[in-house]
């Protein structure tokens, strides 16, 4: 930063407020951009249609129109619903989503809280959203909602294990749980003495990357793992009784979680905000390049998630569980053993 800016001393609460606002704006902008880019346009082109074209140039303001529509709708619930839990459930999901972004670094200093247990914190916090889903399904007083919530519970528990075990490979290789340390380990790393591109862990941990992305797909309940909200059998699963602004909260949480997990994946496997250290960019330049860099990588990875979503048919419940317990978890454990052995050998 320039001399003028570095001369400004901010109190702790001022820094926190600025970081919160900047983080919120970044998350909402990225989420909205992803929804427009992939959910509205990308899928339309895949299906040989134009998608929204009326609101704004190329339908770019369609999302604002949709948000306006949802906010105006009446907030209704079923007669037998447990009103308090019913209202609390979307908040639980949204909070657990936004808390994920607290530790994602976007530059040398651009991280809200540089926790020593960074990636472990992300996994712990993201596992809380399933509580909100179970609360929603139960409090809706609707059997479809309850079945959707049960399916979501079973699926999210099953796919949390490969998610955690897959990440362990990266943690072993970087020797740290802190996301900044993992970014620097990739930026400063070298492969067989070649440091031209650093060492993005997608090259050495490609098994972990594949496991992580599959598990993320399941955690997001995106097709082919969308049994919990299967619209042809369960209407919309745990979301069926929600309308108006509460449904909007689920919608935002779903896509913000997609952005969050994509940002985590790009931090763990694609080098995060950093460029390879051998390219010689200073910290000053990275304050500007870093956030752009990690955003582009994250949006690209969300694109991969949506590409799979719009391409594959739905898994059956037993196939889905078999893939997690008999396929991904043994593979992740094998990856940990191999990584640990190679870590000791080299």
């Amino acid at each position: 930063m320039t001399g003028v800016l570095s001369a400004i001393e901010l109190a702790y609460w001022q820094q926190t407020t600025i970081r919160l606002l900047a983080g919120l704006v970044a998350v909402l902008l990225l989420t909205g951009g992803v929804v427009y880019l992939y959910l509205f346009k990308f899928v339309s082109f895949m299906q040989s249609r134009l998608g929204p074209m009326e609101a704004g140039p190329y339908g770019s303001l369609q999302l604002l129109a949709e948000v306006g529509k949802w906010i105006q709708k009446e907030d209704i619930s079923t007669k037998d619903a447990d009103k308090f839990i019913f209202g609390l459930a979307p908040a639980v999901v949204l909070v657990s989503t936004f808390l994920m972004f607290v530790v994602i670094p976007a530059g040398p200093n651009a991280v809200m809280a540089d926790l020593g247990t960074g990636i472990y914190y992300v996994l712990a916090i993201s596992s809380l959203s399933v509580i909100g889903i179970l609360m929603a399904g139960w409090a809706s007083a609707n059997k479809y909602a309850l079945m959707g919530a049960l399916r979501a519970g079973g699926q999210l528990i099953a796919y949390e294990l490969p998610l955690v075990l897959g990440v362990l490979g990266v943690v072993i290789q970087a020797g740290s749980l802190n996301l900044q340390d993992i970014v620097y380990a990739q930026s400063n790393g070298e492969i067989f003495g070649i440091s031209a591109i650093g060492n993005p862990y997608i090259l050495t941990q490609f098994v972990a990357f594949a496991i992580f992305m599959i598990a993320v797909q399941a955690e997001l309940t995106q097709t082919p793992f969308d049994m919990p909200i299967a619209e042809s059998e369960l209407v919309a699963g745990y979301q069926v009784e929600y309308s108006g602004i509460r449904f909007l909260v689920y919608f935002i949480a779903e896509f913000a979680t997609a952005v969050g997990f994509a940002a985590i994946a790009s931090t763990l496997f694609l080098g995060g905000w950093a460029l390879p250290a051998s390219w010689g960019f200073s910290d000053t330049a990275m304050h500007v390049i870093g956030p752009i860099n990690v955003s582009i990588k994250a949006v690209f990875l969300v694109g991969v998630v949506f590409w799979v979503r719009f391409t594959f048919p739905r898994f059956r419940e037993d196939q889905l569980q078999r893939l997690a317990w008999k396929g991904l978890i043994p593979l992740a454990l094998a990856n940990i053993v191999v990584t640990a052995i190679l870590k000791v050998v080299f």
Binding site: D82, I131, L156
Partner: protein, 183 residues
Amino acid sequence: MTGLFAAAPSAVSFDTPANIAFAVIAVVMVIAAVRVVTTRNVVHAALWLMIVLGGNGLLYLLLQAEFVAMTQFLVYLGAIVVLFLFGIMLTRAPLGRSDDLDNDQRWMGVAVSLILLVVIGYSLIKTYSDDKLTFGAVRNAGTNAQTQDLATSIFVDYLVPFEVVSVLLLAALIGAIVLARRD
């Protein structure tokens, strides 16, 4: 999150924000714990239990045990409470009050918990009454130092107890599978 408690850089023995935070969390936890056993709705009981376990994790954070706190969130909130809720909803998930939840052993329960309180309280006071907890600045913020300390004590100092516990858990796991599979 730990930054929240890093307000005072100097090592003071009585840190007001940390003590206020402890008091608030403790009161919420006690209320929630009482509601777990008095509520008339089994799903509400599980959700109150979630508040108790989450408050426990926050207490670990106050003691700067970051890794333990995250484990508390991941295991107890993300897995055990979810498993409780899952089990309740898979069998029966009554909305509203159910009157058959009361247990006629409640006085026995009160007696057992009082005895536990006395035993644990006595042993804690006996052992640690001379130690002073210092809150204040977070030591080694943003590094793995504390996680490494924890790993060292588990895998070096207490390796044998750790392995014994893992064998015990494995035995319990196999036993559960044997009991569940009748064939």
